[in-house]
């Protein structure tokens, strides 16, 4: 009768052991490799980024056709826009004298500058479309119904913030497209009854698009509105969990 004896650890096992079972690694990642259900739940529960998720989810919600990942992808676009936006900020000065020259610089002399600018623009368009499609998904799956009423409102606010983020970014290249689009856009805002002219003046920092408008739009675009959006997104994600996760038939 053959007796099973433990196999001798190979060189790979030893390297693996040295890399992942040492004191430093374990201080960063407290759970083991997620190859058992226990560790798989722990890795979600103990990681600050992953713990936006619950540890378990209903079978129907991982089907791609249920959500098409639209909400998650909107957030992913926001993250991508933050990264490319920060890179662009290194080269861009929001002054009427510099802005257009900096744009030319970014697209011609900066390494990967054109790529970063393209990514930033197409991601911004993608985000507007994705947020709108996400709203349609939530509506047609009836996911706004109780108890998720308030999160639907937060979503509508985030839709508006997405539009505003995109709109404020539109002026920054300081080319003809930017200038006249913002002129037309702020004229629309200026037509509001009673508060319109005041709003327009407040947005532009004057009676027409000029240096003050550029710095206002820039500040709103790179810090004011992203902060606001981040706060509402935090509420949005938190409420998804608090309201019982994704909606499913009762």
């Amino acid at each position: 009768m053959a007796v099973e004896s433990p196999t001798k650890p190979t060189i790979a096992d030893k390297i693996y052991d040295k890399m992942f079972h040492n004191y430093v690694w374990k201080s960063i990642f407290r759970t083991g490799y997620p190859n058992t259900p226990r560790n798989q739940m722990l890795v979600v529960a103990t990681n600050v980024f992953l713990h936006l998720h619950p540890t378990r989810i209903h079978r129907t919600h991982v089907k791609i056709t249920h959500t098409y990942c639209l909400g998650g992808l909107s957030f992913f676009m926001f993250l991508g826009l933050t990264v490319t936006g920060i890179l662009l900020m290194f080269y861009y000065v929001p002054s009427v004298d510099r802005a257009y020259l900096d744009m030319q610089n970014i697209t011609t002399t900066v390494q990967f500058g054109q790529l970063m600018r393209n990514l930033h623009r197409w991601m911004a368009h993608a985000m507007v479309i994705l947020v709108f499609l996400h709203m349609m998904r939530v509506f047609y799956t009836g996911a706004y119904k109780p108890p998720r009423e308030f999160n639907w409102i937060v979503g509508v606010i985030l839709l508006v913030l997405t539009f505003l983020l995109s709109f404020t970014g539109y002026l920054l290249p300081w080319d003809q497209l930017a200038f006249w689009a913002i002129t037309v856009g702020t004229n629309i805002a200026g037509s509001a009854p009673v508060l319109g002219p005041k709003t327009r003046f407040w947005l532009l920092g004057g009676f027409e698009v000029g240096p003050q408008s550029l710095i206002r739009f820039y500040t709103l675009h790179v810090i004011g509105l992203p902060l606001l959006a981040a706060i509402f997104m935090a509420v949005h994600f938190w409420r998804i969990r608090r309201d019982g996760g994704l909606a499913r038939p009762l």
Binding site: T107, W122, M136, E149, V156, Q176, W180, I188
Partner: protein
Amino acid sequence: MATAVVARPVARPQARARDEEVLVWPDLVFVEFIAAMVFTITLFFLSVVINAPLLDQANADVTPNPSKAPWYLLNLQELLLHMNPAMAGIIIPTVWLIILGAFPYFDRETDGQGAWFSTEGSVKITIVAGIVGFVGTWLLILWDSGKIAFLLHDWFKWSGGDQLRFLENVRSMQSQLPWPDWSRDITYLPFNLRILDGSGSGGPTTFQHLDFPGWLVEQAIPIVALMGLPCMMIYIMWRMGWVVNRRDALLALFSGFVTAYGVLTLTGTAFRGQGQELVFPWELKVSEGIPGQEPGH
């Protein structure tokens, strides 16, 4: 044993069906990762192939014709061509956003959630309301730009004569009907209410005047159309037995909105040429503009 009487069903946390659940890692995280990768690769590819536009440096003296807002605002710019600017640009979008936010407070039933088109007749309502919004918006745009009258005149040699000229578009109701002089100047306020305006012009004895034909064309007719047509659609669907509850009414309203919004955005983007004339996309040209000329809408 005492029984609690509940006035209306309260949303209770759902009982968790553990055996129906999967682990987020790996089942969901994997899907999210793939979706993120697909988008990253697609957008990188797009960015390599298509450059973001950069025109000449901004110049307040050179107005491009047409001057357009960013594409997601072109639906509002399209509305501006048909009605009072305050209504098109501010009041309608604000009111619509409030209505949109109020959806879950109007439709409080919890059934029909968590699955696509799960209520009876929802697909039918969505498709028909979508078509109504699509066709209706196009017809309204074509009519108001005078294209329908033009086609009727050109193809059938019929313009309705001068008596029917006022039906050409909404503006000709103002210009082609024999409005009496007094109707263009109706005193309706015995004092000036421009307190919030801050301009300080006009004392307490200034009178407000109403241009009735202008008010009719710029405000009354658009409001009646924008509120009346969706209400009429929902009412007809209700009489037909399609719309039976609030969810169905919202389905009709929202689906009509989505296609109308799409048509307005598309028209503003691809079908509005110089001077905001309605043209085909392949005829759309942008001129450098005339120095010193403000964009009109």
